[in-house]
Amino acid sequence: MDIKTFADKAFEISRKIGFEESEIYYSSGGEFQLSSLNGEIDSYKDASSTEVYFRGLKSGKIGAAFSEVLSEEAAELLVDEAFQNYSVASGEDVYVFHDGSGDYAQFDGYSGDFQKKSVKEKIDTVIALEKSALDYDKRIVMIPTCINADSWSELVIVNTLGLNKTYKSDYGFAVVVSLAGDEKSKKTGFSFSLVRRPEELDVERIGHEASRRAVEQLGAGKVKSGRYRVIFRNDVFGQLFGTFMSMYSADNVQRGLSILKGKEGTAIGSSRLTVYDDPLLPESPYSKPFDDEGFPTSKKAIVENGKLMTFLYDLRTAKKDGKKSTGNSVRGTHRAKPSIAPVNTVIERGEKSFDGLLETMGEGIFVTDLTGLHSGTNQVSGEFSLGASGFYVRNGKISNPIEQFTISSNILKVYNGIAEIGCDPISSIYRVTSPSVLVDEIDVASE
C-alpha cells in the first residue's frame, strides 16, 4: 500500500472515530555501513525501513501512535491506538496543526551519489581508511573502530488542513578510533567526518587525525587540581555547547526547566558570543526546509553579542506565548514525541587563529576530549562535571599531554567566561559548528 492510499484510509477512519483533524508523518530510508578490521571487511550492514507516525487532534488535544506496516488493518490499529492515547491526555496545552502556508526555502539535500557508488568502491574506501590510520605511526597498535557509512531518507508530512510536504536527503560519514600504545600506556584517538557528497570524504585526513590524536596522548601525565584558563578544541566546545541547547527550548522554559527563563532580551554571556540556528546550512546533513510539524524553517540569531534573542518554538509552545513557531519541532525517532531543538547551531567565528588563542592564554589547559556528557551534565541547572584529557600549555605553546582530570563549571559561567573565540570553526556530529574557544576560570580536579 502506498503512503497516499494509507493516509487517505487513516484520515477516513480518524474522522469516524471522532478526531477533528489528522496528520501523517511518513519516513522511509536506507542505511549502508561497512567496517574494516585488519585490512578486511569486518561487518557489513544494508538495510531499509519504513515508519509512519499518526497524530489525531480533537479539542486541542493530541493522540499519537506509530506503525511500521502500511496496510488497511495497520491503519485501523494505528488510529485506534492514537485515540486511546488521546483519551488520557490532560492539561491546558492546546495543540494545533500547520496548514502549509508561509515561505518555504528551496533546499535540496539529496544527490543520490552515495547510492551510485558500487559496493566495491565503498569497500576500497573503508579499507584505505583503516590503512591510513594504521600507517600513520608505528605506535598505532590497532584500529578498534573504522566505519564508512551512508544513508538516505524520504519524508512526507500530510494533514487534513492541507499541509503536504516532502523532502529527500542523503549523507555519508566515517568514524575512526585509533589505539596507540607504548610500554607505559594505551591511548585512543577519535576522528569523525560527516559529508554530503562521497568525494568530500578525505580518507587520509580522517585516518591520520585519529592516529595523531592517539599518539599525542601517549605518556600523558597528571595536572594539579585548581582553577585554570582553558581552551576547548573546536569540536569539543561544540560538543559541550550542544549538550546544553535544550535550555533554549520554549517547552523547557515554560515548564520551569530552563535557567534561561525570564532572561529574553538580557545579556546571558560574553559580548563576544553570537549563536545562530541555521537550518539551511549547506554542508549539514541535518538541514531541511521545514521542521517535523511541516512549518518552514529559517535562520535566526539565538544569542547576539551575548544577548538572548529568542527561545526556540514549535506550534504548541508558540501559541502558549502568543508567538510564531520558529520551525524547531524536531523528531528524534518515530517512537517518541517530537521535541524542540535547533537544527544546526552555529557559533560565530572570532578573529584569532588557534596559535593566537594559545598565545593569549599563555598558561593553562587545552582540552581535546570530554567524557560523560550524558551523565555528568545537568541540563536544568546548567551544572557540569566531566572527565577530560588534553595538553598543558606553557608560554603560549602546547607543552605536554595530560589525562585523568575533570572540569566542572556551569554553562552560563562558561558563556560569561569566554575570553576569546578562534577563527577555526568546524561542524561536528553534535549538530554544532564551533571554533576553538578560550574560557577563563574552570575548576579542574585531579591529583
Partner: protein, 461 residues
C-alpha cells in the same frame, strides 16, 4: 509466521552464496510511553515495531541486513542481497532440521501491557507524582514517565536453532526538580522489571516518587563536592554502575575478541582485589535484564566473570566465540531488529562480602559517600571511565556529615578493581538503559556497598 520449511529456504538461499552461517531474527513488538508533567498527561505515544534482521557469517566477517517486509518474498529479497555480498556460489539443497529447546519461562507475565487500560497506568503515575510533589516545599517540578513494551522474537539459524522468546518490560521513572535560592537540582529514580502491570504489586509508585524527590531536595541544599583524589564509598544498588562501566564493558567479546580491551588475554589472572567477585546473570526471574534465550537463540545462563579477584570468563556472542575460539555464553543482545546482536551485559553485579555498610563508613576517616549514582561511560580499550554522583555526602571521622553535589568520578577500570578494598553484605540491584554498538537495552547493575581506596572526584576547588 511461515512454516519451518519456508525459513529453512531463506537460510539455505543465504548459504548458497558461500556463507558459513545464516540467521533470521523476527520481531513483533508493542511499545508505549506516557509522560506526565506536573500531574498532567502531556504525551502518550504507542505503536508497533515489526521487522526482520538477517545475518550471515563468512569466516569472521559479519553481514547484516534488515527490513520491514516480512513476507516470504521480502525475506528472500534480503537473502539475495546477503548472498551477493559474499558471492561464492555453491549448491546447498538441504532442508534444515530445526530443533526447539523447551524451557521453563523465567519471566512469566500476569498483565501484559496491551491488556491494561491506559487510565490505570496514568493512575500509577499520579501516585508517583504525588509522592514526589508533596515530599518537600523545594520540589518545583515533577516529570513522571511510564515505559512499557512487549517484544516477541523468533530466531532460526543454519545450525538448527529455532527459538522463541517474549520480553515484557515495565518501567516507571521519576525526575524531580528542587529549587532553592536560584539553584536547581534534579533527582531521578527509575525502577523497572521484566513484568507487566503487576510490577506495581511489588513496587510502590508513591515511594518511588518520594525517593526521586529526596535526592533533589538533599542536593539543592548541598554545597559543591570537593575536588581531588580521596577514598570513595559507593552505596549498593545502582552504585553497581561503577562495575558496569569500569569493568563490565571491557569483558564483552566485542572488545576482547579484537584485543581492544584492557582485560584481553587475562583469563585465569588476578585482575581485582580478592574481595571482588562478579557475575552476569540473565536468568534472575523477572529481572530488568533477564531473558529465556539471548538474541541469537542461545539459552541464557549465569556467568561467573570474576571469582575472588581472578578473571574467569567473558561475555561472548556467536561471532565473538568464533574469533576467540570459545563457547558463546548466552550474552548476545540487541535493541531491536535494526541492530545486529553482539555480546552485552544483562544483570551484572558484584557478589556480597562480609562487612555491614556501617562498618565500612566507620572505617573511613575522610572521603566521599556516593549514595546514588547517575550514568557513566567507558572506553574499553583503555579502561578510562567516568560516572556522575547524583546524591553524595562527605564522610569525616567515620561518620556521614553533610550533603555534597556536582561530583563526577573518573578512573581506569583495571586500576579501580585493585583498589576496591572493602565489600559489604547488602547486595541490591538497580535498573538502567545500557548503550553500545547494538543499541540501547535494559540492564540491571548491582553491588553491595563497596569502598574504593582512592578515586578522582571531580568537584570544585
Amino acid at each position: 509466521m511461515y512454516s519451518d520449511e519456508a525459513y529453512s529456504a531463506v537460510i539455505t538461499k543465504i548459504l548458497s552464496g558461500g556463507a558459513d552461517f545464516a540467521e533470521i531474527f523476527l520481531e513483533d513488538r508493542y511499545t508505549g510511553s506516557i509522560s506526565m508533567v506536573q500531574g498532567e498527561v502531556e504525551g502518550s505515544v504507542s505503536g508497533k515495531l515489526f521487522g526482520a534482521g538477517l545475518r550471515a557469517f563468512k569466516g569472521t566477517r559479519s553481514i547484516y541486513a534488515y527490513t520491514n517486509d516480512l513476507s516470504l518474498d521480502g525475506l528472500m529479497k534480503v537473502a539475495d542481497r546477503l548472498k551477493a555480498v559474499i558471492d561464492q556460489e555453491r549448491d546447498v539443497d538441504t532442508v534444515i532440521d530445526f530443533r526447539e529447546r523447551e524451557y521453563v519461562d523465567l519471566c512469566p507475565v500476569l498483565h501484559a501491557p496491551e491488556s491494561i487500560p491506559k487510565k490505570e497506568k496514568v493512575g500509577v503515575m499520579k501516585l508517583a507524582h504525588e509522592g514526589a510533589s508533596t515530599f518537600s516545599s523545594t520540589i518545583s517540578q515533577v516529570i513522571v514517565n511510564y515505559i512499557e513494551y512487549d517484544q516477541n522474537v523468533w530466531i532460526y539459524n543454519s545450525v538448527g536453532v529455532k527459538a522463541q522468546d517474549h520480553r515484557t518490560r515495565t518501567r516507571l521513572s521519576i525526575s524531580a526538580v528542587a529549587t532553592k535560592n536560584g539553584n536547581m537540582e534534579t533527582g531521578f529514580y527509575g525502577p523497572g522489571g521484566a513484568m507487566g502491570f503487576e510490577f506495581f504489586n511489588i513496587k510502590d509508585p508513591r515511594a518511588a516518587g518520594e525517593r526521586a524527590a529526596r535526592i533533589a531536595d538533599r542536593m539543592v541544599k548541598a554545597e559543591y563536592a570537593p575536588a581531588g583524589k580521596m577514598p570513595v564509598i559507593i552505596s549498593n544498588e545502582f552504585g553497581g554502575v561503577i562495575f558496569h562501566e569500569a569493568c563490565g564493558h571491557a569483558l564483552e567479546a566485542t572488545g576482547v575478541a579484537k584485543g581492544a580491551s584492557v582485560f584481553a588475554g587475562k583469563l585465569g589472572q588476578k585482575i581485582a582485589n580478592e574481595c571482588v567477585s562478579a557475575v552476569d546473570d540473565p536468568t534472575i526471574p523477572n529481572a530488568w535484564g533477564s531473558a529465556n534465550v539471548d538474541d541469537e537463540g542461545t539459552p541464557t545462563r549465569r556467568n561467573l566473570l570474576i571469582d575472588k579477584g581472578i578473571l574467569k570468563n567473558y561475555m561472548i556472542d556467536r561471532l565473538g566465540a568464533i574469533k576467540m575460539r570459545m563457547e558463546p555464553t548466552g550474552s548476545a543482545r540487541r535493541q531491536d531488529y535494526t541492530y545486529a546482536p553482539t555480546s552485552r551485559m544483562s544483570n551484572t553485579f558484584l557478589l556480597p562480602g562480609e562487612y555491614y555498610p556501617e562498618e565500612i563508613i566507620a572505617a573511613t576517616d575522610y572521603g566521599l559517600y556516593a549514595k546514588s549514582l547517575g550514568g557513566g561511560s567507558v572506553m574499553p580499550s583503555t579502561g578510562e571511565f567516568n560516572f556522575a554522583v547524583m546524591e553524595g555526602y562527605m564522610i569525616e571521622n567515620g561518620r556521614i556529615t553533610r550533603p555534597v553535589r556536582g561530583a563526577t568520578l573518573i578512573g581506569k577500570g583495571d586500576e579501580v578493581l585493585t583498589k576496591i578494598d572493602m565489600v559489604g553484605n547488602d547486595l541490591a540491584r538497580g535498573q538502567g538503559m545500557c548503550g553500545s554498538i547494538s543499541g540501547s537495552i535494559p540492564a540491571d547493575v548491582g553491588q553491595p556497598t563497596v569502598k574504593v581506596s582512592e578515586l578522582i572526584v571531580g568537584g570544585r576547588n
